[in-house]
Amino acid sequence: MSFIGKPLAASIVAATLAAGISGAAAQSPQRGGVLNSTLWPEPPGIVIGINLNAPTLLPSSKMFEGLLTYDFRMAPQPMLAESWEVSPDGLTYTFKLRRNATWHDGKPFTADDVVFSVGEFIPATHARSKPTFERVKASAPDPHTVVMRLSEPYAPLIRSFDALSAPMVPAHVYRGTDFRANPANQSPVGTGPFKFKEWRKGEYIHLVRNDAYWQAGRPYLDAIYYRFIPDSASRALALESGQVQLATQTDIEFVDVARLGKLPNLKVTTQGWEWNSTISWIEMNIRRKPFDDPRFRRAVLHALDREFIRTNLFFGLAKVPTGPIHSSSPYYDADVPRYPYDPAKAAALLDEMGLKPGPDGVRARVKLMGLPYGELWNRLSEYIRQSLGKVGVAVTLEATDVAGWGNRFANWDYDMTTTFLSTLSDPALGVARTYITANQRKGVLFTNTSGYSNPRVDELFAKAAGTSDDAQRKAMYSEMQKIVAGEAAIAWLVEIDWPTIHDARLRDAVVNAFGPNDNFAGAWLAK
């Protein structure tokens, strides 16, 4: 809550207090009730792994579970594994599984399902977790124990067992089939507190309570409907009128979030996206001039008032970052070269490079391909154009749509572009991919698209991933952050605090790092 902009924060505190007082008598969860949530766009499928789109994860995470889940600080908590142990050399992970968990079709959940999920299903389908689990050799000494072995330590592994990164899928349904064409993808079978009921195309996905759920007495909700409402203004009205009780991430325009937060029937929180830790940045194509010169990139950072971007474009739902690692990460180091708003310094850096203003006051002409994700991003592009214009860098805006943007970005066909990316639960998973030389792969999005390369940075990332000692990892990531920030590899703009807007009667929906992507076993509706 403390992350929210000031005007909003005050009203939310007031609303929380009011709700706290009136609801004090009824704080124990109540059974019953139907939750309506927005979901947009309509997902291509609802099995995590087969699809990884944000709208796939929201309904899918109610049906599928991981071995572990994580609290707001990303510390592991039991889920389908009731306990676990990591050997001191960091090479062997042993999980003890729940004995009473069953699949939605009634079959018991066993170690064989885990071995199949991490050994076959995830490496074959899950683009994000494939590299992690390809390192793992899993075996099942007994039906309730799983042992995973590594050939060398891989520190991020312990943060990779959540439902989104490593969903457990039923071996008896998928083994030996074409995973992508399996009919169960249309009617998923998981272990989660909610079961698939119906998907009315163009209208909603309907999940119902799993009466045989392994956590006795849970879940509290009878059903969840994910409703597809294409227009963001209509989504805001739906929340306002109480037709839906939950919306998150990009569902509601940031400009509307503050307004909705002031309504007595709604609450806003920015917790519950810690697993994602999103940073937005300007990526400059380092293969092209003048972006190859770190002084130019530093000048870009000095020319931008990121505090202004935070408050006026993101309406306070953001923080100003200092470098490649998100400030919520345990490996974050704030002691790095900083780039405060200072147009004079920017001009001096450009002068030093020999980019003197011409007769029209222009030092350089560049193109900015703005992220085509709607009004907020258009305004951001406009702001960047104006700010760089003031220090003599003339920016031409290039319009694209999502597919065109992805295509040009992945194929290195751009000068500058705005983007945002999840830095995930561990720097080895979500940060390294943007900076290491080995990950420059033309045609593939979310790789090292800028062309940044520094052998020392490569070495630090590689060593830190293979070190199990946390203090040593911290030191390596600190050095990496100092180098990458010093070279201004990328112009970090804001850490985005995705809002979750929910009805005041919806309780315990945001309880860990996954917020709206949690399984909702404990969520309930006050009468």
Partner: protein, 325 residues
């Protein structure tokens, strides 16, 4: 005989037009950069070269464009429209399951506009330059000029959020209402606001068209003759003036009917109406070529058929058309 020739000529023309549209559409959408593999990777926040290559190979997107076109046209001629890249379901099913919702909405708006628009136009023409005329003209101008999405949002704000009379979005209640009457009225209740939103725009057009045509016709000699031979005013207006003024209305109704399949994207978006316009729009953004082409095809066939119906209607309303050829 003349009618048979007309029918035959029309059928040949229609087939040629639809085939041309298929080829043109295929080429046009490939001008947009990026493909479905990039889009899916972009939405996932994770990409993997193997995944990209597999997706492209699965749908033949790695083959030369000419080969893809030939395959596609061949498939269309055998009525096989392929599967959606995104959902891997047959696109014909996806289009057919969305079609009724769109036809219900655009059809209701069509009927509403055709009933109310010309009536208002006639009223305005009879009361030309009097308060009723001014009121109708101003309102018509207003609804003609206001963006559809804005009218929709205002209607939601007034009738759903403030008054709570009508549901703000969707096509039916998630939890079916209790009682037979309430259940029967569920979809119609959801239909009211989107119909008004889409219909008011057309009402405005029809009202303006009718008023103009009526006033123009009213000054013609045959109307004076009708009055001179002592016909009652309602017959002069109804049988003489309005019949003439109907021609532009039929022409425009033909145009509007052409939009029955694909013309409701905005209303469908604002009201989360599960129709085909929205399906096409998303398919375009997601580069789901097969799905998009199927919607285009359905829409092209509808336009061709409706043009045919319009031609027939015009011949009936005005026997001079077609007779002169």
């Amino acid at each position: 005989m003349r009618f048979l020739t007309f029918l035959l000529a029309w059928a040949v023309k229609a087939a040629a037009i639809v085939l041309t549209i298929v080829v043109l559409n295929f080429c046009l959408i490939r001008l947009a950069p990026g493909d479905v593999a990039t889009v899916l990777a972009g939405e996932s926040g994770a990409a993997d070269p193997e995944f990209l290559a597999r997706t492209r190979a699965e749908f033949g997107l790695d083959k030369p464009l000419a080969a893809q076109l030939l395959t596609y046209v061949g498939n269309v001629l055998t009525l096989d429209l392929g599967v959606s890249y995104r959902t891997r379901r047959p696109v014909a099913d996806m289009v057919l399951e969305r079609l009724p919702a769109t036809l219900m909405l655009t059809g209701a708006a069509f009927v509403f506009a055709l009933l109310v628009g010309p009536a208002l136009g006639v009223l305005a023409a009879i009361r030309a330059r009097r308060p009723a005329d001014t009121a109708i003209t101003v309102l018509a101008l207003l609804f003609y000029a206001m963006p559809i999405f804005w009218v929709g949002l205002i209607l939601i704000l007034v009738f759903s959020v403030t008054l709570g009379w009508l549901p703000p979005f969707g096509m039916r209640s998630i939890i079916p209402p209790v009682g037979d009457v309430a259940r029967a009225l569920d979809v119609p209740r959801h239909l009211v606001l989107p119909t008004l939103t889409l219909g008011l725009f057309y009402v405005a057009i029809y009202a303006r068209l009718t008023r103009g045509a009526m006033l123009e016709t009213a000054g013609l000699d045959f109307v004076k003759t009708a009055r001179a031979k002592g016909l009652p005013e309602w017959r002069v207006v109804g049988a003489h003036v309005f019949r003439c003024a109907m021609l532009p209305i039929i022409t425009f109704a033909g145009l509007q009917a052409g939009h029955l399949v694909g013309g409701a994207i905005v209303a469908e978006t604002v009201f989360a109406w599960p129709g085909i316009g929205r399906l096409a729009f998303d398919a375009l953004l997601q580069r789901d070529y097969n799905l998009l082409l199927a919607v285009f095809l359905a829409s092209a066939v509808a336009v061709v058929l409706i043009n045919f119906a319009t031609d027939l209607l015009l011949r009936i309303a005005d026997p001079r058309i077609g007779a002169g050829r």
